[in-house]
Amino acid sequence: MNPGLLSYFLVSAFGIGAVVSGWLVFRTDSMLRAAYWLMVSFVAVGAMLVVLDAQFLGLILILMMSGEMTIMAIFMIMFMMNPAGLNPMTMVHQHRTSMVAGVGSFLVLAWVGVVAEFPDRPAPAVDPTAALGEELLGRSMLIFESAGVALLAVMIGAIALAAKRGRFGDADAGSVEPEIDVDTGSRT
């Protein structure tokens, strides 16, 4: 396969964008910025998908994420004590372990990606959107429909979980804020 120089350039640029914005998600204090940095990361990946000839999937990814990230921002603002990030804060635990785990998984996966030999069978230059449509409503219709049923089940389940009033009265009846003990080491 011989992708053009332009594809290389675009993929590199969007790739750097996806990685940097993904990193900034965890480096910013403002919850709104965190949510929308994540959206920038998704948009960059969607753009890479478009460069890789999967236009429909890339655009659908962007379309889906714009709504989801706004909902995420609303939830972040709801549940964080300092959503606007007007004061600096660090809300992390086991920081070193996670850093090691993150870098380690990156190194292992990147090593696999660079070292392993993959077959070279590029996608033919036909309309991939039409092929996807044939697949969705043909051979793999059962999988597609199962995804739809799963989403319906999730809608019902999510409402049941999050509803304020259930069979046993108010969900928040008698709830009290648990105390935080930051020193976690010696707990009996």
Binding site: L59, I62, L63, G67, T70
Partner: protein
């Protein structure tokens, strides 16, 4: 056509359309203004806003506040790029142009939410929240009626959809399409009667703290968004550049202007509805109607 040519075309359409919209809005809604002053009103208003100092608030998210109007304008431009204006483009269309348009129009939610959040002020933030509730309840009908036009055309490219209307406009083939599209488009552009994010009950809502060049930019971006939405409505429901005698680009301009004036008229003459009732309307009325539209079109296509 070259990329530069398309860029110039889109910019001309957006600026011209914004002017038409502003004049129509002034003629319909401006009380006691004569016709001649309405035509110079957009320029006067723009000069006034550009000379006005830009006020600020206590600790705003300044980067987001500056970014949001540009983002809105960029989204309007991206949505317009996929629409053929003067005739079939020789270089070929964007393959999934309709999906590109849909994605751009749903990211408008992000731009408005950021613009409401950024001033660090209560009323703009409530405006942004209102807009989120509105767009999440009409986003699905909006996408459905736009994508339904792809069923008879058997293509997601806007150029092919326009070409397939050479015998009959989709306005007549899918009678539910254009009304639902115009209602949801007015809501996505927070244009009256759905200008709840900017409602007077919120003292201006998302623009309560905006002034000067920032407000001018925001107003222009919103007008450009209206133009893009009307362009797409003209292309997929009114046959775009197809028409007798006159050149193609003129037909596009005429149809877009008709939709813009229609939107200006309804925006100024219909009563605003509360956001709760609008959300109810979106889920209970528009969504089933949009699904009927899809089913009927699919049935006819079979």
């Amino acid at each position: 056509m070259t990329t530069l040519g398309i860029g110039i075309q889109v910019a001309a359409m957006l600026v011209g359309g914004a002017y038409v919209l502003a004049v129509a809005d002034r003629l319909i809604g401006g009380s006691g203004s004569n016709v001649r002053s309405a035509f110079s009103y957009p320029v006067k208003r723009l000069s006034f806003l550009m000379l006005q100092p830009v006020t600020t608030t206590e600790r705003p998210d300044l980067a987001a506040w500056i970014l949001a109007p540009s983002l809105l304008l960029g989204l309007a431009a991206v949505g317009a790029v996929s629409i053929p204006i003067g005739g079939p483009s020789p270089g070929g269309d964007i393959p999934a142009g309709l999906v590109l348009f849909g994605a751009a129009m749903l990211i408008v939610l992000v731009a408005v939410f950021i613009f409401g959040w950024a001033p660090n002020s209560v009323l703009p933030m409530i405006g942004g929240y209102r807009f989120a509730a509105m767009v999440l309840s009409i986003g699905i009908p909006f996408s459905l009626v736009v994508l339904t036009t792809a069923i008879p055309a058997e293509s997601l490219s806007v150029g092919t959809i326009v070409e397939s209307q050479s015998s009959l406009w989709y306005l007549l083939v899918q009678p539910l399409g254009l009304p639902i599209y115009l209602i949801t488009a007015a809501a996505i552009a927070f244009w009256g009667p759905f200008d709840l994010p900017e409602g007077t009950d919120l003292a201006g809502g998302i623009v309560a703290e905006a002034s000067g060049a920032r407000l001018a930019m925001w107003r222009f971006a919103r007008a450009a968004l209206m133009v893009t939405l009307s362009l797409m409505g003209a292309a997929v429901f009114l046959g775009g550049y197809l028409g007798p005698v006159l050149p193609g680009w003129l037909w596009t301009v005429i149809k877009t202007a008709v939709l813009l004036i229609l939107l200006a008229l309804t925006g100024r003459t219909m009563a605003r509805i509360r956001v709760q009732r609008f959300v109810w309307f979106g889920w209970v009325v528009l969504l089933p109607l949009a699904l009927v539209d899809v089913f009927v079109s699919g049935w006819v296509a079979l």
